[in-house]
Subunit: 374 residues, 2 copies
């Protein structure tokens, strides 16, 4: 059930290639390998043969219709189930009282996951699973949902030599960037960038915590692979050049305020209920931050927050409330720093604690409409 749920993240019942609407099941001496794939992603989950929870009686492969197989497995009573793929293309699933036959598809037609030869792999890095998970969630806030520039639907994973990895994403209005430690295990230390689909990365992040503490990233020109002992996720990189985050981040600022993250989040969640065109207006005054929003003919709201630390001049600017809320929601720190860099220049958000393990930074471009709330 568990392994199946994970590999199904890569299976679409609407895939125009019939065999890819199925799950590939392979029984080997080591155990069972379940694989789900679509054009740019493949997920492989392993269940080890241990003689009690899994016993392999015969080796072989079969592809079964994913949705039906999942629905049946989900509804089976607890206990031992026997899966029999010996009758060439029919898979029988049987327990004491149920006997189910599914038309399988010849496994030989299933696209083989490219097992990159060691020679083609350029980079091999070891990353902490939970740090990678939170970095992916942070980057995902700023991935573009429009397909007009494919490169912006991706998360850019940049290695600049050394022991750090930078994840970034941007849709032109907001940008997220995050640095996490990584141990180079490959022979090559040259800088490299890999752009992989943001949605797929987020799907993977959801599984990471269940498969051990560290994950290995293995990259070649044709594939980015994330592996733990029992989970292998292969992603096709997106071709193109990613906008340089460093050149966009404003260096100077007029004001910097520190706020309690949870309070800011709750205030923004309330403010966005009445944010017409999603716009909220932030205004600092006498050491406090006001957040106002308005929907014509319905009402308005005003939130008043204490500022923990203030530096610079008072400011006032309008932002997309939903985007700001998404960013604040993914922060895992108690305090957040917000920098005002001008009316037409993006605000900068950063966790305020000295976070040694991970450093996240977010940009959000203001909206040039003023909300008037009396």
């Amino acid at each position: 059930m568990h392994a199946l749920q994970h590999v199904l993240k890569a299976v679409s019942v609407n895939n125009p290639i019939p065999i890819l609407t199925g799950v590939h099941i392979e029984a080997t001496a080591e155990g069972l390998i379940l694989t789900g794939s679509h054009t740019s992603m493949s997920i492989e989950a392993r269940i080890r043969q241990d003689g009690t929870e899994l016993t392999v009686l015969g080796k072989g492969s079969i592809v079964v219709p994913a949705r039906y197989f999942y629905e049946i497995v989900r509804k089976l009573d607890d206990g031992i189930v026997k899966i029999d793929g010996t009758q060439s293309v029919v898979t029988a699933i049987s327990t004491e009282s149920s006997s189910i036959r599914l038309c399988g598809i010849e496994a030989s037609a299933y696209p083989k996951a490219t097992r990159s030869s060691d020679d083609s792999v350029t980079h091999r890095l070891l990353i902490d699973s939970s740090l990678l998970k939170s970095a992916i969630k942070q980057a995902a806030t700023s991935v573009s949902t429009s397909e007009s520039r494919p490169v912006l639907t991706g998360v850019c994973i940049a290695y600049q030599g050394g022991s750090e990895l930078h994840l970034s994403a941007t849709d032109g209005i907001r940008l997220a960037t995050c640095t996490i430690p990584a141990v180079n295990r490959g022979r090559i230390t040259e800088p490299a960038e890999f752009i992989v689909n943001g949605r797929s990365m987020l799907d993977m992040a959801g599984m990471l915590s269940e498969y051990g503490d560290s994950i290995e990233l293995e990259a070649s020109s044709s594939q980015v692979k994330f592996s733990t002992t029992d989970l292998h996720v292969r992603l096709a990189p997106i071709e193109g050049t990613f906008p340089s985050a460093q050149s966009i981040i404003p260096r100077n600022y007029y004001a910097e305020i520190t706020l309690e993250t949870a309070r800011l989040l709750h205030a923004l969640e309330r403010a966005t209920v009445l944010a017409g065109d999603r716009i909220v207006r932030l205004t600092t005054c006498i050491g406090r931050l006001g957040i106002v929003s308005r929907t014509a003919a319905i009402g308005d709201s005003k939130e008043d927050l204490g500022i923990e630390a203030f530096e610079g001049d008072d400011f006032s600017l309008s932002l997309n409330g939903k985007m700001l809320t998404d960013i604040v929601r993914c922060l895992e720190c108690r305090y957040v720093k917000l920098r005002y860099t001008g009316d037409r220049s993006p605000i900068v958000l950063q966790p305020a604690e000295g976070d040694r393990e991970s450093s996240a930074l977010f940009l959000l471009t203001p909206v040039r409409t003023a909300v008037q709330v009396s």
Copy 2:
């Protein structure tokens, strides 16, 4: 939050009458009364003034936009909130740090719930809440989803004098009927039938358990009202004549089998995954029940269940698997009796235990297509 969630069951944001997209809030000396209404249903929930959780500072009424009000209340921090409706049509919601104004609507335009004068009430009955709740859930399995015969979208509540109430519903293919005890508190003991919307009854059933042990049904020609101390649900009866359940129930049968409800449910849930056109075929043989289903080009399934008690001849018939599963799922008994009354006559399902408090009975008409599973 709690009271609001309940009254919102009667509020549709798409209601063409603008004032009905709102929630009516009335502050009285006794406490707060929240009301939500649509054309055929009104729900009134009360919060009592107790000086700690609720204090009424001034009496009055206002109508607020339901969706916005709900979203804001849901996102408020815990603690005391002050709701101020004194500025004629503006409602202010404020806590220490938030101040929210919603454009209210003059409450005088809100349709008053018809408070039936005592004279017009023909029947007044006291019913156990949890028995009513399970009877509604059982009847709801057989309510028609098609609007072509409005009377079949309802549940028929029949009182025949005495101390029993009969609930029934049918869509022409299946029928559910259930008898529960009721104490007559009115002056009239004449038989009567009230048909009320099945969907609204089911919504009410979801709230019942939170409002005390017993519920009062008060019926007049224009309204059926269910009341507890803090919840009042008013329903407009559906006009028409309900098909008589008693005349449809087959009196003779060729076979009767008793099955374990949970096992039958799980077997049916698996069988329906592969039930093409939703058809499952039931066959008895040597004291066991087989359930087979098939989807062309995908696969087939065969379930094999032990029969606890058998009487009569072996039989075989095809049924709508989803409908049968819905019926079996709402049974709260350990064993179920299934009677075969002929190939073109409905099967009869009944809880097998001697249930003194409630007696449910279900009919399901067979499908005249045979499923061939080799």
